[in-house]
């Protein structure tokens, strides 16, 4: 039997970057094939060429043994290639059925379409009421619409782009069941991810890309997560060095019944949140994106101020009504999720970006005048200590890659030696090497006596980093518990909104 899909010598050049360099691999019928690599390794470019969104500069695509060209996505769908994107394109105000009907290339009468949708749903156990409005559905349910939409075309190859990044562990399990059944029926699956344990659990073969080149094609079941990660980053992985049996000191950051107002139509406010972080402790806050993490960070950093002075206290001092500047003076630094335009100004130099948050704590301002020499020296230290790849303090923030900018931002806050540090998504879009460095810096800061709050959607990160863990869902926070005592299943249930374990605040 010929290969379902075969790529031979695919090369794609962008201005300044060779996104894919002579990449060749094959996907067999009914195989679940992982495409693995760090951000910027060239995974997305490769699948965009398979799905006809882009054209390769060189190389051939073979489909069931025949050489084909895929000029556009419509042609890809005609061949039998379906794709589920990371970001959904659904109209919230319409029903499931209406959304699917809108995305079809051919016009099919609504009744016939509904019958076919129900058939696909029962075959693969994708339970969903076709007449429900999308706005009322969870993220996992929305993803099912996209999968159903792709399956209606009876694809022979289904491309899934980072499908689990928005799902709870339980939803991930359900998705895997569907994918295994599809594969058993002969549909090949190209599964893009950087989550190694998922790939080990699900995939038959893994193709690893690094810097646009194919590094290895291997059997993930024969590999360890570590060995695959090292192939992905091309060097040895560093472990977080954490002192065993650490004890925590007195409560440092105490949050007591903190709430925020709903700021916009899509804003999820913080609802009556309470927690305590002790000296030397790292509290992890897990949760599916869009459950109030942004409002929580803004409320802690001071971008959103509370009327209640004692809603947030540091060492017993109420700071709830202070602005960000005053809170920084009290020792609280924060790093928001969005780097460009929030944590840093792209058009400004790194030196000027240091002035943004470090000017008061490090004496960069004397009588209203900015001491640019002090800002430059400090920026140079951040660049050196955190191995930021930049020409120097005078480079603009926008000229740095995402990972390097994140290292700079984290370094800028950590080197201020804050007594409380609140960070959101500290390693989002950052390569594994840089992520390890950032994690180690956070652990070291805690060991030096700071209280740290890490808000993240990456459970692996939180389980490795945090001492205690709480879950945020619809703006409400579960009780914090030691990481060692809370199972992945429990976290999953809390992320999905089951609040039995919720402490009465």
């Amino acid at each position: 039997m010929p290969n379902r899909l075969e790529l031979s010598g695919i090369t794609k050049q962008f201005p300044g970057v060779l996104a894919n360099d002579n990449v060749s691999f094959a996907v067999k019928p009914g195989e679940i094939h992982a495409l693995l690599g760090e951000n910027g390794a060239g995974k997305s470019t490769l699948v965009k060429m398979i799905y006809g969104i882009m054209q390769p500069d060189a190389g051939d695509i073979y489909w069931n043994g025949e050489k084909v060209s895929v000029p556009n996505p419509k042609a890809a769908r005609r061949l039998g290639i379906g794709m589920v994107f990371q970001h959904f394109s659904l109209f919230e105000a319409l029903t499931v059925l209406e959304n699917i009907a809108l995305g079809m290339d051919a016009k099919i009468p609504a009744r016939e379409l509904e019958a076919r949708i129900r058939e696909v749903m029962t075959t693969y156990g994708l339970m969903l009421d076709p007449h429900r409005t999308v706005a009322t559905l969870s993220v996992g349910e929305r993803q099912r619409i996209e999968i159903v939409r792709a399956l209606l075309l009876n694809p022979q190859l289904l491309i899934m782009d980072e499908p689990t990044s928005v799902l709870t562990p339980q939803e991930v399990d359900q998705l895997f069941t569907v994918l295994r059944k599809l594969a058993a029926d002969g549909c090949s699956i190209l599964y893009i991810s950087h989550k190694l344990h998922e790939i080990k659990a699900l995939c038959d073969t893994a193709t690893i890309l690094r810097g646009g080149k194919l590094v290895d094609t291997c059997d993930p079941k024969q590999e360890t997560s570590r060995s695959m990660a090292e192939k992905m980053i091309g060097s040895n992985l560093r472990d977080i060095v954490k002192v065993e049996g650490r004890t925590f000191g007195a409560p440092k950051l105490v949050v007591n019944r903190l709430s925020t107002l709903k700021a916009g139509h899509f804003d999820v406010p913080v609802d009556n949140v309470s927690f305590t972080v002790r000296t030397g402790e790292i509290l992890g806050i897990a949760g599916v994106a869009g459950n109030g993490q942004n409002a929580l960070l803004d409320a802690l950093s001071g971008e959103i101020r509370s009327d209640d002075r004692d809603a947030i206290t540091i060492d017993g001092l109420g700071i709830g009504n202070m602005d960000t500047t005053a809170r920084r003076r009290q020792g609280l630094c924060a790093v928001p999720e969005e780097r460009n335009g929030h944590a840093a100004v792209s058009e400004f130099t790194l030196s000027d970006n240091s002035v943004l948050t470090a000017r008061d704590r490090l004496g960069m301002v004397v009588m209203g005048l900015i001491n640019s020499g002090a800002a430059k020296t400090y920026t140079g230290r951040v660049i050196a200590d955190f191995a930021v790849k930049a020409l120097g303090p005078a480079s603009t923030a926008g000229s740095l890659s995402g990972g390097n900018l994140q290292k700079y931002i984290m370094g800028r806050e950590i080197l201020q030696k804050p007594s409380v540090l609140v960070v959101s998504q500290p390693t989002w879009g950052v390569d594994a090497g840089a992520a390890a460095a950032i994690h180690q810096a956070l652990v070291d800061l805690a060991a030096a006596g700071s209280a740290i709050v890490v808000i993240s959607q990456d459970l692996d990160e939180l389980r490795a980093l945090a001492d205690t863990l709480a879950v945020i869902n619809m703006g409400r926070l579960s009780a914090a518990r030691p990481v060692s005592e809370i199972s992945i299943e429990e976290i999953g249930l809390l992320m999905g909104g089951v609040h039995d374990g919720m402490e009465a605040a």
Partner: protein
Amino acid sequence: MQFRLEKRPEPSRLMLYIAPLAAVVLTMVLGALLFSLIGYDGIGAVREIYFTPLLNPLKWQDLAIKAAPLIIIGVGLSIAYRANVWNIGAEGQYIMGGLAATGVALATHGMGGFWILPLMMLAGTAAGMAYASIPAFLKTRLNVNEILTSLMLTYASVQLIFYLIRGPWKDPMGIGFPQTRRFAEDARLSTLIEGTIVHSGVPIAIIVALIAWFVMSRTVFGYRMRVVGAAPHAARYGGFSENKTIWLALLVSGGLAGLAGMLEVAGPFQRMVPGFPANYGFTAIIVAFLGRLHPIGVIIAAIVMAVTFVGGAVAQTTIGLPDEATGIFQAMMLFLVLAGDLLVKYRIRRVQHTSAAGAA
């Protein structure tokens, strides 16, 4: 087939500086063409408007005194625009500054003393600030767009001139002319150089621009304005409140417009007249953008605009160009400067109509 604006990855630094120059040159070419088409001597118009003022040393003092208020107002506006606060009512703030200075001059008439001029300056600046605080208040409290309020307040201030110079401030010896009496010696700006008309407003304008340059590049105030304009979200994270920035931007730009009003009324006019509003406040908007919102750029841009004013007057007498020609040249220049800015930051791409269904 459609066209789409696409952001350039890295705008060329060179083009950033060439674009305004190209806009000026293109204005000359298009202006010559336009006026030739409607039956005037187009080439002559450009020559009279752009080159005569520069080549004739007698016109240089005219340039200086026309440029001075444009520099002072333009510097203020460039600071506000940096922070994305769109004060369009500098003309009104300029008028209020002129009126407040007139009030002081009339109230102290008959007294003498070196303190009168500084007091007029103070009054003019304060009046400009006070007038600009109305849009600031409305914006920060009720979220009313400052473009509309500041612009509309300009028309109210014009009416106030007419009321005052026809009523309470009317010159008792003016045989019915709607104007105030001429200010006393101590309330007038003396000429700097004997035999010229250059008054102390000219060096003040240069000093204002230099101070603004220092403030914008070296102080926390300047940093605040730049960061709020470049990334409002980051500014909030950095601890700069948006409302305070709006207040500061309007007070600084309003205060400088008021100062310019005082210098005009005490310098060239020496009394309040119906012709006091000379559109300096509006022209300064062009000056601010033409000068890249940079104080030194503003000085150069103000001189360019002064050239068109002086040259426009020359062209009226020498080749009979209508009064409005100056306005047409200035408007064309603003349009081309803004278009140049856009093209430096974006490029125009022709897009074939492909199906966007791929994103489904």
